[in-house]
Amino acid sequence: MLDNEELKAQAREIIARYPDGKSRSALLPMLHLVQAEDGYVSPQGIAFCAEMLGISKAEVNGVATFYTMYKRKPTGDFLVSVCTNTMCDVMGGQIVYDVLSEYLEVGHDETTADGKITLEHAECLAACDNAPVMTVNYEFYDKVEPDTALGVVRELQDGRLPQPTRGARLCTLKQISKQLAGWSEDRKDALADTGVGEATLVGLRLAEKHGIAAPVGDIDATSPIRVEKK
């Protein structure tokens, strides 16, 4: 799979984003590209990166094993990540994880027998105001409870794509990996999908309700900034 011209062209496209002679910067995006193709960092993927960048396979492997998002085993179409860092744990995230783990009969970083769903517990996903959170292919389900989490997973098993509460409509992990490699969103309207989560906006809604705005300065939009030399 990985030895085709199209993929090589994509790798060259990634390399071209970085300054001349700095092609090694392309390695992280290229590993995402490998996952977009194979669903994990496959041995062929490692060889591909090494060849394209002129570095050894050991070097590529050393990098790939450092980062959590690079998977060492084949993954399912859907990566379900439940945050179990302190805030989410305290707010019920660990229970959500345990319920899913029991239901799917898999542990951390394991994939269901049908090869569809990979489960993992995640560290803080920068969404603590929406705790506890879970993501599917990195799109968010906020303030999730065991029942809603189970509902999401059951829908995935039934071939449906439940709408995230924050982020865009779901696609497969391979498709998302292409975006991680730096390609733009190509699904029409997906950029505008869903809100940003109410927690993000609570302070603003409060300010709006009470007619509060920040003071403005002496705005002079046209003349240059001048500062007296001290």
Binding site: R17, Y18, K22, R24, S25, L28, P29, L53, V63, F66, Y67, T68, M69, S81, N85, T86, M87, V90, A122, E123, C124, L125, A126, A127, C128, D129, A131, T135, Y138, F140, R166, G167, I176, Q179, L180, G182, S184, A190, L191, V196, E198, A199, L201, V202, G203, L204, R205, L206, H210, I212, A214, P215, G217, D218, I219, A221, S223, P224, I225, R226
Partner: protein, 438 residues
């Protein structure tokens, strides 16, 4: 739930967040209608050195956790050195509790881009990177589209608005590693290596990405810049407190009625923030909280009136950090919370230095023993001793930060530890978790 008092409501000061309620503010047309790219035009008419001096005057400090003055950081970049210069935006947001940068890039990505064009003009850089944490694909997607829009309108690329300034921006997704938020680990990661911190000096200002002069700033640090340029340095200072100019996005999480983002002038107190958030949840009384993420020592109900600015929090024995106030109640256990954070630090330790790699590993095991009801009073000394060997002896801030919750929880809540040790509290973990603990 009672409504906040008017004098507390008046502390809300939406500047960085002010466009977030406009549903399409992430699109360039809407952004332009809402004052977008106006500050850029003003900045491009100014002398770059004047811009740097202006940023110094504004008292603006970094929003990434350490509060380093932004203007001073820009001024460190050597000029006329014949080398390429770089701006790297740190969008790795991973400090537990922190959740302000991703919403900003989701809702108002052009503010960051506009700030980057101004910053690169000031430091004479023609290339910039946004290193965004991999998991944040929702924000990266909006950011990439915003970058494309900015190119299409001539705000990026060659000869921006006829000013002679060129800039290319690359949005670079990480791959899941908290340590890559540490600025030198970020640079190694951006160069395609394992994300391990570099020895300093030399500092990134002279030897940053690709060995060239580099400014690394947090998302909020840069996204504030257009507002400051437009409204003035004195205005920015007037919004905050002494030594803490401007507003901050305070991220409230945990046991309050309405967790979320509240942008206020610096110096607001937790008591006021909780009031804005509708109070504590029914049946919950404040027990412990972090002022700025899990790497900042926890505080207690005694600290409700500490001004949440750089000096105020430092005086109270903690750090302002990322203004991620995680709020825990008397139904939560500080020993368990610390244990979970230590598991995090253990997982995220890059393994480069022994104190952090081994120290966190052992502390997790000590906590397991305590939480399983098998601890001894000597375990508490072991913990403090281990912290002594981490703090100031680790290679980077991750190791230092890991000790914060340990030492502060032992300082304020020693009895909670003793309750497990002396059998007054039911163990939270069971024997099975103890495998390998001895």
């Amino acid at each position: 739930m009672t409504s906040p008092r008017p004098e507390v409501l008046a502390k809300l000061t939406p500047v960085l967040t002010k466009r977030w309620l406009s549903p399409d503010a992430w699109r360039i047309d809407t952004y332009e209608q809402l004052d977008g790219y106006v500050a850029l035009r003003k900045a491009l008419k100014s002398d770059p050195d004047d811009l740097i001096a202006f940023m110094k005057d504004s008292g603006h400090r970094g929003r990434g956790g350490a509060g380093f003055p932004v203007g001073m950081k820009w001024a460190f970049i050597p000029q006329n050195d014949g080398k390429p210069h770089y701006l790297v935006v740190n969008a790795d947001e991973g400090e537990p509790g922190t959740c302000k940068d991703l919403p900003l890039m989701m809702n108002d990505p052009h503010a960051l881009i506009e700030g980057m064009i101004i910053a690169t003009y000031a430091i004479r850089a023609k290339r910039a990177f946004i290193y965004i944490r991999g998991e944040a694909i929702h924000a990266a997607r909006r950011l990439r589209s915003a970058v494309e829009e900015a190119y299409a309108k001539g705000y990026l690329g060659k000869n921006i608005l006829g000013s002679g300034h060129d800039l290319d921006i690359v949005v670079h997704s990480g791959a899941g590693a908290y340590i890559c938020g540490e600025e030198t680990a970020l640079l190694d990661s951006l160069e395609g290596y394992r994300g391990q911190p570099r020895l300093r000096p030399p500092f990134p200002a002279t030897h940053g990405v690709y060995g060239a002069p580099t400014v690394i700033n947090n998302v909020g640090s840069i996204a504030s810049v257009p507002h400051i340029v437009l409204n003035g340095a004195d205005w920015w200072k007037s919004l905050g407190s002494e030594n803490s100019a401007g507003t901050m996005i305070y991220s409230l999480s945990g046991r309050v009625q309405n967790p979320g983002q509240y942008e206020c002038g610096m110096g607001i107190t937790l008591r006021e923030l909780i009031e804005l958030a509708g109070g504590m949840l029914p049946g919950h009384n404040l027990k412990f909280w972090t002022p700025g993420g899990s790497s900042t020592p926890m505080l207690t109900a005694e600290h409700l009136d500490v001004p949440l600015d750089f000096d105020g929090v430092a005086k109270a024995g903690s750090m302002l950090g990322t203004t991620a106030t995680m709020i825990f109640s008397d139904r939560d256990c500080p020993v368990y919370a610390t244990y979970r954070w230590l598991q995090f630090y253990t997982h995220e330790s890059c393994g480069k230095c022994t104190p952090c790699r081994e120290g966190n590993y052992w502390m997790v095991r000590t906590y397991r023993r305590i939480l399983s009801g098998k601890g001894t009073p000597a375990d508490l000394d072991t913990l403090l001793d281990t912290c002594d060997n981490l703090l100031g002896r680790s290679f980077c801030g991750l190791g230092d930060g890991a000790t914060s919750s340990v030492t502060s929880s032992l300082q304020y809540f020693k009895q909670d530890y003793l309750d497990y040790i002396e059998g007054h509290r039911r163990p939270l973990l069971n024997e099975a978790d103890l495998v390998g603990a001895h």
